[in-house]
Amino acid sequence: MIFSDPEIWAATLSMAVPLALPAIGGTFSERTGVVNIAMEGIMLIGAFFAVTFSYWTGSAWLGLLAALICGGLTAAALAWGAIRVSADQTVLGMGINIFAAGLTTFLLNTLFGFNGTPINTPKLPDISIPGLDKIPYIGVIFQNQSILVYIMVVLVIISHWFLFHTRLGLRMRSVGEHPLAADTLGINVWRIRYFGVILSGLFSALGGAYLSIGVLNGFTPNMTNGRGYIALAAMIFGKWTPLGSFGAALIFGFSTALGIVLQGQGISSNLLQMIPYALTILALAGLVGRAVAPAADGIPYDPRRS
C-alpha cells in the first residue's frame, strides 16, 4: 500500500512548503483588504536574490535575509500602488509578476551567464531533529528535510495565533472587512494595510528562497513554475486562514507526491500529471463550501474622501 510508505508524506511536506508560505502571505495581505496576486513574482525575486547573496556572501542565511529584504521591498511597491495611489490591485500584481520574471532572468544572464548560478552556492542546511528521527515512520518523514520545513511549521502556528488571537490581528481583519468603521475607531487603515502586504512579501520571498536555496542551490528562470498561482488557490481553498492555507497546500503537495509515487505502479504519467490541477478546479468550484473573501478585499480606502 503506497500510503503506508513514509516517502510519500515526506514528499508531500516538502512540496507543500513553497505553496503554504506564499498562501499564508496572501492571507495576511487579503485579510487587510489588499488583493495580492503577486506572490509568483515575489517568490521569483526571493529565489533569485537568495541565491545571489548566498553566493556573494558565502552564507545561505545572509542569502535568506537578502531574499526577505528584496521580497519586502517588492511588496512595499505593490502596497504603495494599491494603498496610496489606489491603483487596480489585480493589474498591479500582474505587473509585478511580469516584471519579476523579466528582471530575474535578465540579472541571471547578466551576472552569471547562460550556464546558471555557480554550483558552489551554499544552501540552507537539511536537518533531522534529534529525538524526532527516532520515532519510527514519523522519523522518516522528517528525515533530512530543509530547515525551512520546520520554520514553516512554526510560522503556520504563529500566523494563526497572530491573526486570530492578537489585537493587531483583529485590527488587520477589521480593516479588511470594514475600513471605515476601523478608521472611525482610530485605527490607521493605511498603516495596517502596508503591514499586511509587506508581511505577505516576506512570506512569499521565503517560499521562493525555499526553492532556490532550500531544495536546490541555484536559480533558473521561472523556477517557481506557477506555484504562486497555486498558492493563490490554496489561500482561497483555505478560506483566507493560515491553518486552512497550510491544509490546502498539503493537499496540493500530496497530489504532486501521489503523482510521483503512483508512476512507480505503472499508471500513465500523463494522467497523474493532471491531479494537482484537477484538484485546483474542484477546490475553486466550491468543493469546500462557499469561500467568502474579506468584505473590503480589493477596494482601495481613502481616508480623505470618506
Binding site: T90, I98, V215, T220, G264
Partner: protein
C-alpha cells in the same frame, strides 16, 4: 468573488500575451545586423565559398526550456554563436519561448523580418515549423530532433540518441554490477527520469536500458516522467523518490528539470549521468559521464550551408559513426576497464554488430 476569479483569469491570459510580446520584442537584443541593405536580391550573386561570406541573418527560437537549460537549447545557441564568430557576415538573434503557444509567433517573427535561416529547437515545435515554413517558402528552417520531410525549405536534424544512451547505460551497468564507485549500495538499481514521453527523450532512455541490461542483466531500471522540462524542484523530488527506492545512479533526460535531479543526487551522495552536453561541471564527483548529442555541430553546419548556398531540405541523421552523438569523458575514479569496454561497444554499434532499439521497456 466570481469577479475576482474572472479578473485573475483575465490577467493570466494577459500575462501570457504580454510575455509573448516581450519575447518577440527582445528579439533584437543580440548582435544587431550590420548594414541595413543586407536584404537578399544582391546577396545571391555574391558568390560562394569566399572567405568574406555572404551576409546572412540567423534567428534561433528556443523551446520552453530556454537558454538556461544546460542542454540542447543552450547547445543550439553555442553552435550559432560559434558560427557568428567563425564565419564572416553571420548575424544572430534569439527568442526564448515562454509557452508552447509562442512557437508560431516567434518563428513567424524571424521569417517576416527577412531572416535567412530560422532554427527551431525541439521536437515539440514540429507543427509550428510545418505551418510557418509553408507560409514563408523563401526562408530556410532547421528543426532539431525531428524528421520533417517533403517541405523543401525545412531541414531536420535527427540524433540517434539511443546510441549515446546505450553507452551511458553500459557505463552505469559496469560500475553498478562491479561496485566500481565508492558508496554504491548493493541493491543494483538505477533510476531514469524522463521529461516527457516523447521520442527525443525516449530514444536516450531506450538505449540506456539496453546498455545497462547488457552489462548488468540482473539490475533494475526505474523509470518516471516528470512532465516538465523546467521545474527543478520537481525534478529533485522525483530523484529523491528513486533514490529512496535504492537507485544510486540517476539518469535524468528532462532538460532544466533534470538539473534538479542531478542536484538531488549530489545532495544524497549518489551518482548521476548527464544528458545532451557534458554536464560534469554541474556536479563534479557526482556526474559519472554524459550522453551527448552534437546539436551545436548540426546548427553550425546548417548555418554554413545556408551561407554557401548549399542548404538542402530533408533529414540529416547524426550518430556515433559521424560523431553526431557520443559520450563525455568518464569521471575520475572510474576504472580504465570501463572506458575500454565503452570503446569496444562503440565500435560494435558503428559496425552494426549491436543494433540499438528505440523502444522503451516499461
Amino acid at each position: 468573488m466570481k469577479q475576482k476569479f474572472l479578473a485573475v483569469a483575465a490577467s493570466v491570459l494577459a500575462l501570457t500575451a504580454m510575455v509573448t510580446g516581450c519575447g518577440t520584442g527582445a528579439a533584437s537584443n543580440t548582435a544587431a545586423t550590420n548594414g541595413s541593405n543586407a536584404t537578399n536580391s544582391a546577396g545571391t550573386s555574391n558568390g560562394t565559398g569566399t572567405t568574406n561570406g555572404k551576409t546572412i541573418k540567423i534567428g534561433l527560437v528556443t523551446d520552453t526550456g530556454g537558454l538556461n537549460d544546460n542542454g540542447f537549447n543552450h547547445l543550439a545557441y553555442v553552435g550559432m554563436t560559434n558560427a557568428q564568430h567563425q564565419l564572416n557576415g553571420v548575424s544572430t538573434s534569439v527568442v526564448q519561448s515562454q509557452s508552447e503557444s509562442d512557437y508560431v509567433p516567434n518563428l513567424s517573427h524571424f521569417a517576416q523580418n527577412g531572416y535567412n535561416l530560422v532554427i527551431a529547437v525541439g521536437y515539440l515545435m514540429e507543427d509550428a515549423v510545418k505551418q510557418v515554413a509553408k507560409e514563408y517558402p523563401k526562408t530556410d528552417f532547421l528543426i532539431i530532433d525531428d524528421n520533417i520531410t517533403g517541405i523543401p525549405n525545412v531541414a531536420s536534424a535527427i540524433f540517434q540518441s539511443e546510441q549515446a544512451g546505450y553507452l551511458a547505460g553500459v557505463v552505469a551497468g559496469l560500475v553498478q554490477k562491479n561496485h566500481q564507485l565508492k558508496g554504491l549500495n548493493t541493491k543494483n538499481v538505477v533510476g531514469v527520469i524522463g521529461g516527457q514521453d516523447i521520442p527525443p527523450v525516449d530514444t536516450y532512455i531506450a538505449g540506456f536500458q539496453q546498455g545497462f541490461k547488457k552489462e548488468d542483466p540482473n539490475g533494475k531500471v526505474l523509470l518516471q516522467y516528470t512532465n516538465s522540462f523546467s521545474d527543478e524542484a520537481l525534478g529533485s523530488q522525483y530523484a529523491q523518490n528513486e533514490i529512496s527506492q535504492g537507485a544510486d545512479i540517476i539518469f535524468p533526460v528532462a532538460g532544466g528539470c533534470g538539473i534538479g535531479a542531478i542536484n538531488a543526487a549530489q545532495s544524497a551522495k549518489v551518482y548521476a549521468i548527464g544528458v545532451d552536453t557534458n554536464q560534469a561541471y554541474l556536479a563534479p564527483g557526482t556526474v559519472i559521464t554524459s550522453a551527448t548529442k552534437g546539436v551545436d555541430t548540426a546548427v553550425f553546419d546548417t548555418i554554413k550551408a545556408v551561407q554557401n548556398g548549399t542548404f538542402k531540405g530533408g533529414v540529416s541523421t547524426f550518430n556515433l559513426a559521424n560523431n553526431g552523438v557520443g559520450i563525455a569523458p568518464l569521471m575520475k575514479g572510474v576504472p580504465q576497464s570501463v572506458q575500454t569496454t565503452v570503446n569496444q561497444i562503440k565500435q560494435q554499434i558503428i559496425s552494426g554488430q549491436i543494433k540499438v532499439s528505440t523502444t522503451v521497456q516499461r
